[in-house]
Symmetry: C2
Subunit: 309 residues, 2 copies
């Protein structure tokens, strides 16, 4: 199985309103809810690709129960979330039906106590040995030490399990230093990590900081990969329009599934780019359109060079 | 005990954000949750005044459980909510820390099935005979017939229990025709019911439509009451500043507590006006400031005339 870690799981709520006007009252015309947080999104896509996935992280309160109730009905996804006293956060996406734009409100998440963080680490150590790969995804809730991902990367490496890290800021900086197999920053996260806005230079720099492979997501331009096996750029065949929410998580699922299937890097990248594009065009935010994926995956352009070594 | 009915109960959530800007992403800095819906707010104030209160209406889903968990810890409030398959709605108040203004997002509420509506009516018929007064408060969730309040008014009157109705639109129009003892519309609701924007004329008209007594809430100007015993206007001693959320519900609690304590109308109105003003000035939306209430209640001006009859 593939293990995805979401320390700040969420109940993702989408509201549709006729037109969002600050300082007025709105009747919400449609409400949808789904389990969220980056690692949970990754798990959902991996399961749709036919992989067995276990999700861990924290769950608490009525919102945590709502997340777990929904995970229980998701085929191929095993719930190994660790209970906390605080409540799982909500994220609210308010979609303006008039403009189509989205306004996002994100709760900070529960405060995790030292005892709860220890309980999680113990659960994680128990899960890692049976995993074919580990993904560490998203922000840290209050109370979790900023070096958390560095420790989780080391545990996976000590068990010989490949580990992908997808986070930002100081958590990414510390995590990269623990030498994860793959990091998948977007352009902003990469620039914040390295100080360089030149993606080519920045991916090289991120490798020097400790990441074995760096796959930078460049939005509509696709992915730029710098790995020990070579460097590639993968570009979608057409510019797609839609909601980019979750596209990065779908790309992570593409990379991880390709890794455990032992695909060569160009095939992993093509899959990741096609899944991301198929997520942008899907009518429901964060889901991917399977028909679009199957149509796109053979048409992704991958250019680059294999390393001499 | 006093029975309050909230057919569209809610989990009232308040978010603080630094500054609300549509089409951007916001980190919520503070989250508070409390049980809501107008009848639940009325019950909380009645309990704070020392009355035994029973709340009924509908509850469902994780949000309903959150409402009930919180009601269980509220002293003097008995939970007699009726379960439904749908989920209790959330309301979200987004407070902009920069301007102090609030943007409101209200979910529509669960769709109530005919069987669930029948189960509620049966529960209500069982509760009414032990009540000293009944308050019917707020909007109707989807699925509940628009004439719902008219039926609930008739049940209370048949049992000889005084009944107050606080709703709007067609539900108010139908409910008034069933001859409730008191209706408490605000200026807009009264104008919508009667077609008149002159409060004096409109309160008279509302009585002709069936209400025994009409108490119109005129915001900062206080209350205007038209009853078989006389007509009065009750005005707060000073113009108060703050958040008017819940002020109308506090006024209802003042009227109901005065009714069951057999206070003369001027004393009921003074209590209602003081509670409403003490709610506007309270730091937490919907709560009332007890010190402010006790200071204000003796200083409310009540002018009017007792009926000759």
């Amino acid at each position: 199985m593939i293990l995805t870690v979401t320390l700040n799981t969420a109940l993702d709520i989408t509201y549709r309103v006729r037109s969002l006007r600050p300082h007025t009252s709105h009747r919400v015309t449609d409400v949808t809810e789904r389990p969220g947080g980056k690692g949970v999104n990754v798990a959902r896509v991996l399961a749709a690709l036919g992989h067995e996935v276990t999700v861990t992280g924290f769950t608490g309160g009525a919102t945590g129960r709502a997340v777990q109730d929904r995970l229980a009905t998701a085929e191929g996804v095993l719930d190994a979330l660790v209970p906390v006293t605080g409540a799982t956060r909500r994220t609210i996406a308010v979609v303006d039906e008039h403009t189509g734009d989205t306004t996002q409100l994100n709760e900070p998440g529960p405060t995790v106590t030292p005892a709860e963080w220890s309980a999680f680490q113990e659960a994680y150590e128990g899960l890692v040995p049976s995993a074919s790969a580990v993904a560490l995804c998203g922000s840290l809730p209050p109370g979790v030490p900023v070096g958390a991902y560095a420790g989780l990367v080391r545990t996976a490496k000590a068990a010989g399990v490949p580990v992908l890290l997808d986070t930002s800021g100081e958590a990414l900086r510390r995590g990269v230093a623990a030498r994860p197999d793959i990091v998948k920053p977007n352009a902003d996260e990469l620039a914040e990590l390295t100080g360089s806005h030149d993606p080519l230079r920045a991916t090289q720099d991120a490798r020097r900081r400790g990441a074995r492979s760096v796959v930078a997501s460049l939005g509509p331009e696709g992915l730029l990969a710098h790995t020990p096996e070579g460097r590639w750029r993968a570009t979608p065949p057409t510019r797609v329009h839609g909601n980019p929410t979750g596209a990065g998580d779908s790309a992570v699922a593409g990379l991880l599934s390709g890794l455990v299937e032992n695909l060569p890097w160009p095939d992993r990248l093509a899959r990741a780019v096609a899944l991301a594009a198929a997520t942008v065009v899907a009518p429901v935010a964060g889901e991917f359109d399977r028909g679009a994926y199957e149509e796109l995956v053979g048409r992704v352009t991958v250019t680059g060079e294999v390393s001499a070594a």
